[in-house]
């Protein structure tokens, strides 16, 4: 585009500019010739009329006309000097006088009509050009023909010089113009090439590339919108990448979760088939096959729970907090007793708007995790309180705790605080993922705080009791 514009503009300019020069040259040339002709005709007329008077005078004195012609024409010989004029007088096609030794006249110019009209022409001989005027003297001297030859070589040379000068100047102007035009177009098209370069970079994956924004014109505005677009693209790519990474992490973890029980199940089945000989051996192997199958089953159920929760709407009812806590304590009392862990609860508000089954699952998960963290002789506290008007439920334990790095990831599916992903504590690794989803569907927020060796606090904060807003938020989240 840039080069096309450049070439088109340049061609148009050169064409019109040179056309102008040509027109000027032609006009100047015509003018030069015209003036030479006018001048020649004037002189011719002047000399002819003077000569005619002289002829009358000579004849009046009765002197022979032919012999006195040289003396009559003598005064005009000055013209032959620096004026480049040659005079010739013919009598019936014979030269009777010339102020120059060389005078050549084409024959046609001597055969003129006798009505006093004159012939004007440009005569070229060798490298010289002249204006030739020939005319008969009026009767009774119409035997005489006066030829006036005006050399215009110098005039043409001057014109040629001027023409050359014009073209030379034109060339310089054209070069300057081309240079200027190129600069202008470069400046005009620079943002465009910058945009295309930046787009290419963005397309190649450098999403943080931006256009420089300067000035206050249309291009600045465009650069700003372009940058805005680039930023949006970068954000979305980032989100996609994060989502893909999370999904990949989920799949990797899921594969690992499946692989370990499957290895065990296959291995023990093979053991029964090929190695086991006593009933004891077989019982031993089948016990492991069953427990590992149950683990797979648990993973399947939890995944199903997650899927169901994603699709189904929650049923909100007013739930008594005391009832909720009691249910959780009952569900886990056996396990707590086995570990000799004490579970206590505290209520600072009475009821909560939530899906009671889901909230039960969430709290059981919290307390279950706390039980795993506590080991023997721990203490777990469930507290319901108002925090800046927001209903908050917290489960606190005095177990082994974890570092901040783990806290960021604990709601990810299959994430294990322990690098080795041991199952000594049991579970499918989906509990907190489920909790997160339950919290999301209630429009509530989950937070965890922990310190290694000091215990962990798991908190769910419900939005302020504005039902409409709450419903809307929940709807958006679903």
């Amino acid at each position: 585009m840039k080069y096309r514009t450049f070439l088109t503009t340049l061609a148009l300019f050169l064409f019109s500019f040179n056309l102008g020069i040509v027109i000027i040259s032609i006009t100047a040339f015509k003018d030069t010739i015209h003036r030479a002709q006018e001048r020649s005709l004037d002189e011719h007329y002047f000399i002819t009329s003077a000569l005619l008077q002289d002829f009358h005078a000579v004849e009046g004195r009765g002197t022979d006309l032919d012999s006195s012609i040289p003396s009559l024409l003598q005064p005009y010989s000055y013209l032959a000097g620096d004026q480049n004029v040659t005079l010739g007088l013919f009598k019936d096609k014979e030269l009777v006088y010339s102020n120059s030794s060389v005078l050549s006249v084409p024959n046609g110019f001597l055969e003129l009509p006798g009505d006093g009209s004159r012939l004007v022409s440009i005569q070229e001989s060798g490298d010289r050009a002249s204006v030739l005027v020939s005319g008969k003297l009026p009767a009774p001297y119409d035997l005489y023909t006066m030829v006036y030859l005006y050399d215009i070589t110098d005039g043409i040379a001057a014109w040629k010089q001027m023409k050359n000068m014009l073209f030379f100047a034109g060339l310089i102007v054209s070069v300057l113009f081309a240079f200027g035009l190129h600069l202008l177009l470069y400046k005009l098209f620079k943002p465009l090439s910058q945009i295309s370069q930046t787009s290419r970079q963005i397309a190649a994956g450098a999403y943080d590339t931006r256009l420089p924004v300067s000035g206050q014109d249309e291009l600045t505005e465009m650069a700003q919108s372009f940058n805005h677009m680039a930023k949006e693209i970068q954000n979305q790519i980032q989100q996609l990448a994060t989502a893909a990474q999370q999904k990949q992490q989920f799949i990797d973890n899921f594969a690992h979760e499946l692989r370990t029980p499957l290895t065990t199940i296959y291995g023990y089945a093979e053991y029964i088939q090929k190695v086991a000989r006593t009933e004891d051996d077989k019982l031993f192997a089948t016990t492991y096959i069953m427990s590992e199958s149950r683990r797979l089953q648990q993973i399947a159920y939890r995944l199903l729970d997650l899927a169901t929760l994603r699709e189904n709407k929650i049923e909100r009812k007013t739930v008594e907090i005391k009832q909720l806590f009691l249910g959780v304590e009952q569900a886990l009392s056996l396990m707590a007793a086995k570990q000799n862990v004490q579970i206590t609860s505290e209520c600072h508000f009475d009821s909560l708007e939530c899906d009671s089954d889901l909230m039960h699952i969430l709290l059981v998960n919290f307390v279950d995790n706390a039980l795993k963290a506590c080991g023997a002789n721990g203490h777990i506290k469930m507290v319901a309180f108002l925090n800046h008007g927001q209903k908050t439920v917290m489960v606190e334990d005095n177990g082994k705790g974890m570092s901040g790095e783990h806290l960021l990831h604990i709601t990810e599916a299959f994430y294990r605080v322990d690098l080795a992903r041991t199952r000594n504590g049991g579970g499918a690794g989906l509990g907190l993922t489920l909790c997160k989803q339950i919290a999301d569907s209630h429009g509530a927020e989950l937070t965890f705080s922990s310190e290694p060796g000091m215990g962990t606090k798991a908190t769910i904060i419900f939005p302020a009791e504005n039902r409409n807003e709450w419903n809307q938020k929940a709807k958006i989240l679903q």
Partner: protein, 215 residues
């Protein structure tokens, strides 16, 4: 046979490996983490370590760096090429990805032990004596005539003793992958071995499975 240390935090898998290795005559020690593994290695002579990579606190690579000198096979769920390369460049003798077949593990253990000269060169049972190095068979100190395939088959049975081997597996292990033959070849050779070595009660037919040398 050899003394093998199993370092694996998944108790069922640890137990499974231990039972299988004990069946073929190895002495096994099971530990669940790195510090216990290092403790065991300092306490007694260990011929081979089976190391899981994902372990609590100290990972398999780290344990391997600390037990330099003892042959080791990595057992892991990590199957990526970079993990394998990392394991092998560290100097591990082999690398096995879960889930694996027990026979493969046994074969690899045998291969490593052969390289490190820890395999027993002779095997004795009920008056039968097998010298693997000179490939000689004795029954009550009298040399026994045998064909090369019979000896190969016997060697496979001894190396995987107490494990039932299907006829196909026996063909594959004793005759080789490319052997195209009837599984009845195996039956014929087994009959001959039983007769020559008086091992009717030892080489058992496992119902619908194959054969097992019971020790």
């Amino acid at each position: 046979m050899a003394t093998i240390l199993i370092v694996e935090d998944e108790i069922p898998i640890n137990e499974l490996i231990k039972r299988n290795l004990q069946a073929v005559g190895h002495t096994c020690i099971s530990v669940l983490d790195g510090s216990a593994a290092i403790h065991e290695l300092s306490q007694r002579e260990i011929d081979l370590v089976l190391l899981d990579i994902m372990l609590p606190e100290m990972d398999g690579y780290e344990i391997f760096r600390q037990i330099r000198g003892t042959p080791a096979i990595f057992l892991t769920a990590k199957s990526s090429l970079s993990d394998k390369v990392k394991g092998l460049t560290l100097g591990a003798d082999d690398y096995l990805v879960k889930p694996f077949e027990m026979l493969e593990l046994l074969a690899r253990i045998d291969a490593v032990l052969r390289r490190t000269k820890k395999t027993s060169k002779t095997f004795e049972l009920d008056g039968v004596k097998i010298d693997f190095e000179s490939r000689q068979l004795f029954l009550h100190d009298h040399p026994v005539e045998y064909t090369p395939k019979e000896f190969d088959l016997l060697e496979v049975l001894v190396n995987n003793r107490n494990i039932a081997l299907s006829r196909e597996k026996l063909l594959e292990l004793a005759w080789g992958y490319d052997y195209v033959g009837d599984t009845r070849t195996v039956d014929v050779h087994i009959q001959k071995l039983r007769k020559k070595l008086d091992m009717d009660s030892r080489i058992k037919t496992v119902y619908k499975m194959g054969y097992r040398l019971e020790v």
